[in-house]
Subunit: 298 residues, 2 copies
């Protein structure tokens, strides 16, 4: 979930005006929200400002995303450099394809030099299985095991692991192999997780705030949801690393620590929705329905 | 997928301007699009006009959805009656919660009589396993088996089956049990499939065209993504059964028949994306990434 916790998305459907009873659990099974409300401060990890990107669109909307240097270090280094060299200032949202992705970058990419980056980074589509992989106790259609590493959604075939294309996750657009994309064009998932993309593209981050300012856009009219021209494209006026903003203007966010007991209790609550509203708890949860909660702290 | 087939959503990410090479398969594995292009006419089933609802919004956008009377007959009978009695004319989009649902109905529901419906239909959250259930040969996090019945996405625990809350599927909003919702408020899924809702609400249909005119809306500012008042709500100016429209104005759609050999080939193509773009075919596909293709025929 990439919205403020008051809008968890785990609430179910009400007739308008009813109290959010779906956010209440039962006597034996708290709701996800109740687990979070009871969480100690130590269950939350602050996202480093060096990993946080602040993107401002032409209408003043702000989208914030977190980079994942532990998993895609070369691509993340490129992205930080692109941000800092001002490459994305004057970029646009290029493509909005319903049920699939929003993609952004420079419409004049072929004419704009990307300074100081590695133009041919290694693929970084997969990585050696980290020791701190915490598997979910549930099946997955695509992988032998799924779970979390440092609060990121990860899948594994036992021999290698990879970041998963869940809603809000960010990947690097590329051409056909051997191109691996440099980071000049990025996309985020706006529909049911397109898991067939896993291990085929570099996944480098996730949108943690302002996702709605990407998803509420008109869908592109050209093939694959591309916008036709600059009259349709949505301009990006600035992209900054949070670390480079003055302290008083710097946003800050925390993510629930997937190594915490709270996280395990929260996953169990997501998998077993109970209380007055739910007739039948599912007894399981898909990885992409167990995305680490994020909250703003300023 | 609920868009015209030119925008399948199965395409992956390109640098802008490249040809859609992702829609080409390999020598041994056609792409999903190639399978559809080669499909005989007999692989496509026309959606009955009596099951097709045409909803026009205030800005002229049209959203079309298909009802599922085979699975939720009492709720579907109510919805047809609500449409025909004009109950939804003057209804609105009430709620848009990012990554979750769009919900619509009358904002003044408590003051507006729903004539001629069954106000307390049976739950219809599950049904006896149909003989024509075609299981996918892949795992699922939530169910023992998943697959299709008459081109609808279905899950099964061996003892009962249910329609699945995939992207674009439509359910009936309700209050707490024993209320089962009458059909006066409906919602559709606009994010990763919220499978914890399966077997907890009546699933009655799916959006088959114009989904983008629901998903591109501003997200609601109130709790659970509800709109604050009529200044935010998006008015629905008319809702009609396609069967009641004059023939020359009646839209018509076909869905790929899940009992056809083409469908099985298409699922296999979705599960094994190959060709120049894909480095690693997944070897499996999630039910909600195998939604029966729909095409407009007029």
């Amino acid at each position: 979930m990439f919205t403020r916790l008051l809008l968890t998305g785990s609430a179910a459907l009400f007739l308008m005006g009813a109290a959010p009873i779906t956010q209440q659990g039962s006597a034996t099974q708290p709701s996800p929200q109740e687990v979070l409300d009871a969480a100690p401060a130590s269950a939350w990890m602050t996202i480093p400002a060096e990993d946080l990107v602040v993107m401002t669109l032409a209408d003043g909307s702000v989208v914030e995303y977190q980079l994942a240097p532990d998993f895609a270090p070369a691509h993340v280094a490129n992205i930080r450099q692109l941000v800092r060299s001002g490459y994305f200032d004057g970029a646009s949202i290029l493509r909005v394809q319903d049920a699939y992705v929003v993609q952004w970058g420079r419409a004049d990419e072929d004419k704009t030099e990307a300074k100081g980056i590695n133009p041919t980074p290694p693929a970084e589509y997969e990585f050696a299985p980290p020791a701190d992989f915490k598997a979910l106790p549930y099946r997955d259609a695509y992988a032998e095991a799924v779970g979390h590493v440092k609060s990121w959604p990860v899948a594994s075939d036992g021999k290698s692991d990879w970041l998963v294309h869940c809603y809000g996750m960010i990947g690097v657009a590329r051409d056909v192999a051997p191109d691996t994309g440099s980071g000049t064009q990025l996309y985020t998932v706006i529909g049911h997780a397109p898991r067939h993309l896993d291990r085929n593209l570099a996944v480098v981050g996730r949108v943690i705030n302002g996702m709605e300012f990407l998803t509420d856009r008109p869908r592109g009219t050209e093939e694959l949801g591309f916008y036709k021209d600059d009259t349709q494209r949505i301009k990006i006026v600035s992209v900054k690393m949070a670390a480079d903003l003055p302290a008083e203007a710097r946003p800050s966010f925390q993510v629930l620590d997937s190594d915490s007991p709270t996280f395990a209790a929260w996953v169990k609550a997501r998998a077993n929705r109970s209380g007055a509203f739910f007739v039948k708890p599912a007894g399981a949860v898909d990885l992409c329905n167990a995305l680490a909660p994020v909250r703003g702290i300023k």
